[in-house]
Subunit: 412 residues, 2 copies
């Protein structure tokens, strides 16, 4: 069963509003077995809307439309759809009451614009809106379904979950789709692909593989479509076991895409604590860790030692070593890790020191040179990395690499 | 001049990856005078790509394509485009060297997949990629331009800014669009709109106004389109002067959208230094400050005191006060600010303590309660805020509010 998502609104095309609706709808509708054929975004203009609708109806069984249902003049969707399917607009009492109730609860009286929003096509089913004034509509034509919903995300989401998905499930016999993820870290996409080449070549045709890279990480997605969920899962799980044998040391999770969440769970389970001493990452690792609710259980704090004197005074780094080896060195980063671990009395600690750029590079230590150390009760592990020229990406990659090293040490 | 944006990738259609590329590209290309006709997202499939490309080329002067250029088998875009425009793939020496350099600098050897990425169409211009291995391509046909770029956002963004936009400007005579921004902080959108209502009603028809809110900030964008840049600027500048008279105290910049950059410039000019003591923001303020290259001139460091014992031992907060008033209190946050300022010997300091959520709220101090203090030689200023329920947004809003208070104190 194919499905098209059609987003309507000038604000999307001039880059003012990010189209999170198409993303959210895709996820929900793919999960229940639809194949999303295309996302299309067009302006609030009759020709553009009709052309896109024609195209979507030619190619898909279902078209989900969002946007263009507001009370103002620039919102044309409802009139266009009603005309397109040969109906006319009539007042719907239930919708009128919904709008009246909503406006009263907000302390406003119904105005002319609100009253007009109670007009619905006589050739469509109405989708009531619990969170706003514009109702949705559900057209059927030649066995195809066309749904129109408001563009306001929380109104659209409630309508989708409460009405559209149940109705679609009733209407169509949908296949089962199973997606499974493998989250890897510490190996670039091309190297990963090389290691997995012969496995990939022998993948059954029923399984689709995708590589999804982001700085410092690559996700592998295995997908399969069929009728029997258990059977599909068994086939995919078998392949995941094979992947684990080939690149197991790079996999940090099969269920969770954030290293800081995985680490949080490991520390929580071990009843262990963590601290960070950050120079080039400037607090970013602490920020990642504290993005996770409940981090206060295992994260005691960080010392962001951006200045050398902070490294010396707050972390106890030897001033002579900074002089002799430089702040970006094995010696200094290891002392930083030991220093913060001792100072904040934690089981584990992470330290970073590097040249994030774009300034500050030398011939010997160009921009992107980073030292990372992780300390535990038993050991201090340190490693040098050579990242790129982009400051933001270097900070991100340093953080991910550091969390990767920490994870390896925790699970030893 | 019309422009289509074509995004390629199954990960977008199954709702796994949010399409931020189309959004970012729209904003940039609209700014230089293109009318964005349509966004289309299709899967990594030949028919889908070719159909979408046909449609885009029929309707627009320029087609910008992202995605499907990775080194792996699921990436088909380059082959399809090369064939579509009747060319063939040949090894490009410059690109080969770019890739080799990139892989070597990261400590890897070139493998077969990397080598293949040096294949470019013989009927296109190459867009070098400074941040990754896949080059972009620039096709011209019947006066129309077709650009293909990698889907990885930071690679695509650098390529667009450094090459695609300058080349497009050379190729087309674009109308002059003048956008001017007014960056405000510390006042919600609805309040801002109310204060500006009568000014807005009297705006000349030639000027378009947009409110662009993000957590803790609202940008106002004034736009005008025409042929004479100086004339457009004069008209807009006159309006900006009027806005400054109405809401001047909330404007933090007319040129720079990041408070941390504005603060960096102020500190640099004053030859003054800064430190932070962060509880609920968990290092995020330090991260924002150190995103700015050259921050080491004025930022000495941070103490992220997530645990109470870190507040006591590393910042000298009185344990009894934590007991009596709670960690989220005026007393504690002021002692944190004084503590870090003294400890790291800086001119200014920021401290935060709050309940970011979703857990940890009480009736007296619900989720979203945040105390912020800023200390200087002369004073300690503290303020309580009541933000919302979302952890990430609360951290962001706390950071922005803290930087806003600091800025006001520095410019006193």
């Amino acid at each position: 069963m194919k499905l098209d998502i059609l987003s309507i609104g000038d604000e999307l095309l001039i880059g003012q509003t990010l189209n999170t609706n198409a993303h959210w709808l895709s996820k929900q509708l793919n999960l229940i077995g639809f194949q999303i054929r295309q996302h299309t975004t067009v302006s609030d203009e009759k020709t553009a809307i009709v052309t896109a609708l024609n195209d979507a109806l030619t190619n898909s069984n279902v078209v989900i439309i969002t946007g263009g249902l507001g009370p103002t003049k620039d919102d044309l969707t409802l009139n266009i759809l009603t005309e397109y399917f040969g109906g006319k607009l009539i007042i719907n009492k239930d919708v009128y009451q919904d709008i009246e109730k909503m406006m009263t609860s907000r302390g406003y009286e119904m105005n002319e614009l609100n009253k007009q929003q109670a007009l619905v096509p006589d050739n469509a089913k109405v989708l009531r809106n619990k969170n706003g004034t514009a109702p949705g509509t559900w057209f059927e034509k030649d066995g195809k379904i066309i749904v129109s919903m408001p563009g306001v995300p929380y109104e659209m989401k409630a309508m989708t979950t409460n009405t559209v998905i149940p109705w679609l499930k009733e209407k169509f016999e949908l296949p089962v789709i199973v997606h499974k993820m493998i989250y890897t870290q510490g190996i670039p996409e091309s190297q990963l692909a090389e290691k997995l080449e012969s496995w990939e070549n022998n993948l059954p045709d029923t399984i689709k593989l995708a590589y999804l890279p982001s700085p410092g990480r690559v996700k592998l997605r295995l997908s399969s479509i069929g009728n029997n969920k258990d059977q599909l899962e068994t086939v995919i799980n078998l392949q995941i076991e094979k992947v684990k044998k080939i690149i197991g040391e790079h996999i940090f999770s099969l269920t969770e895409d954030e290293l800081q969440v995985v680490i949080g769970e490991l520390l929580h389970k071990k009843n262990a604590t963590l601290s960070t001493a950050e120079s080039c990452t400037g607090g970013y690792i602490a920020h990642l860790i504290t993005q996770v609710s409940g981090a206060s259980d295992y994260f005691k704090g960080a010392i962001v030692s951006y200045a050398n004197e902070t490294k010396i005074e707050s972390l106890g780094v030897n001033a002579n070593d900074i002089e002799q080896y430089g702040a970006v060195s094995k010696q200094v980063v290891e002392q930083m890790a030991i220093g913060v671990r001792t100072k904040l009395k934690t089981d584990y600690s992470i330290a970073t020191s590097g040249i994030a750029g774009p300034l500050g590079g030398t011939e010997e230590k160009p921009v992107g040179t980073v030292w990372i150390a992780v300390a535990s009760e038993d050991e201090v592990v340190s490693q040098m990395f050579q990242f790129g020229k982009d400051r933001t990406i270097n900070i991100e990659r340093t953080a991910i690499a550091a969390l990767g090293i920490l994870r390896n040490i925790i699970i030893q």
